[in-house]
Symmetry: C2
Subunit: 300 residues, 2 copies
């Protein structure tokens, strides 16, 4: 079975005084490995890769592999400049990564040909499988299904991480089926946007690339395992139970600030663990997050 199926957990890279808190990060990775996630993706958007230097990223990749206890580690290599992406790919490969995650980061808007060229270059320079990372909320680049298809034909493209699925179940299934028809059979489709995790798996996605799982693997595993055991209704009801958390993600501009507050609340990360200028949630917002964590019994 492809490595790029099941539950992939996206941990934070917590900072303390503008320096990577290596002990906290290693602890998070060990916790994920012990919880039994199928893979760990370090240095995703949640891992704040975009904010870290090449040296910090190489170090975090090595730490992730060292503490993953054999769980496959994928490493985010996105950067604004192609040559920097290649340098990250090389350091991830040296660190022992099992795969690479690549988002087409932008400052100047990119064309579809620019983005295709980026994947073509990376695909020609690395020996590792590559996950195509479609995250328009951070990259502001919109993939078409046709572009998924062109990129997925390149060597080493192993998976496409899509940004959620439509809310209606039939429309969601059609959406995943349409993408599936455009890409080679061995390329998997993974859903992200945690509120869509269960719905994406039910709609036919092979993997769930999950922020939630990076800090709270247990509830995410209950959803992923329910699907693997052929009980989609249990997956959907567990996801529905977590609605207060999804609501906070939506209200506070995405998952990052909320999951950082959860990790800080649970003592997994030091306080103010996000890179400035991102200030994280204020005290009142943090109290609301803590209440949801307690109400949903997400503490352990």
């Amino acid at each position: 079975m492809s490595l790029f199926t099941g539950l992939s957990a996206f941990p934070l890279t917590p900072l303390h005084d503008d320096t990577v808190d290596e002990r906290a990060f290693a602890g998070m990775v060990e916790r994920l490995a012990r919880a039994g996630v199928d893979s760990i993706t370090a240095l995703g958007s949640t891992g704040c890769a975009a904010y870290l230097s090449p040296i910090e990223r190489a170090r975090v990749a090595r730490l992730a592999v060292a503490h993953a206890e054999g769980t496959p580690v994928f490493v985010g290599i996105g950067a604004l400049r192609t040559s920097e992406v290649l340098a990250h790919a090389e350091s991830a490969e040296k660190a022992g990564a099992a795969g690479l995650l690549l988002a087409p980061m932008t400052y100047q808007p990119l064309t579809p040909d620019d983005v295709f060229g980026l994947y073509e270059t990376v695909s020609a320079h690395t020996g590792l499988p590559v996950i195509v990372y479609d995250n328009p909320g951070t990259t502001h680049f919109a993939f078409s299904t046709e572009l998924y298809g062109r990129i997925a034909e390149l060597p080493r493209i192993a998976s496409i991480k899509i940004p959620g699925v439509p809310r209606d179940p039939d429309t969601a299934r059609d959406h995943v089926t349409t993408i599936r028809a455009a890409i080679p059979a061995e390329v998997t489709i993974g859903v992200s946007g945690d509120a869509f995790g269960a719905a994406g798996l039910v709609a036919g996605c092979d993997a769930w690339y999950s922020v939630l799982a990076g800090t709270l693997p247990e509830p995410a595993l209950r959803i992923a395992r329910s699907m693997q055991e052929g009980v989609p209704d249990r997956a959907l009801s567990e996801s529905a139970r977590l609605a207060p958390l999804w609501d906070l993600f939506a209200e506070f501009g995405g998952s990052l600030r909320v999951i950082a507050a959860v990790a800080e609340h649970l003592g997994q990360a030091p306080s103010q663990c996000l890179p400035l200028p991102i200030r994280g949630l204020d005290d009142e917002q943090r109290r609301r997050v803590a209440t949801v964590v307690e109400d949903l019994r997400l503490t352990g």
Copy 2:
């Protein structure tokens, strides 16, 4: 008079084989100084600062000052992480910059408080005047007039670079007047988006932060000097004459790819001078740019 008035020229930072072409860059800066622009802003969006390493940026800042022949040089210090912004500010100050240009770059969306905090921190750490750089097309951050006002009250904030003005002249004047009322009297307002340069100056802006001027200073100077000589109609008609160029900016996703093709066509920059993954214009598009350059007699 404030340094942050008149025409500021934004040169490219041309690359050759993924390395800064220092000779081409120095030549561009010298040409701008000799043309008589009021200031030169290195490492703006057009200067591709977002794509360069801290070492490259420090070197480009030093080169700009060394070749500006006394023309004031402003240096772009935007980066995703506050600590990196501070490092760029320090290297720009050491290079002899007369001011700093700061855009709130984003990967994760920023809140108004995040952005205020960024300017507050930079303002507390630098001795140089700072231009607030509002460029939603690249940063995806939307400033409000209220936020302009909060930031402009900070020490060392010298100017606000706004992203164009409304098309209707009266609405444009009202827009500039509204911003003016929200900021201290000594803070200037500069227009950008070259198609709006003349209209912005006519609407009351103090400065034009110009991509065009970075490669073709003469036509930009004709517009700026017409305004300074009290002949706004001449400024507007010169801008109208350049409409085929503004049309290409609009058609090809902004000014960057077009101005790079112009610089390459005129021999100011090596071919394919933009950082990958930005491929620049294709051959047919370049032919159209060359035709406009020749038709408008922009060659010298």
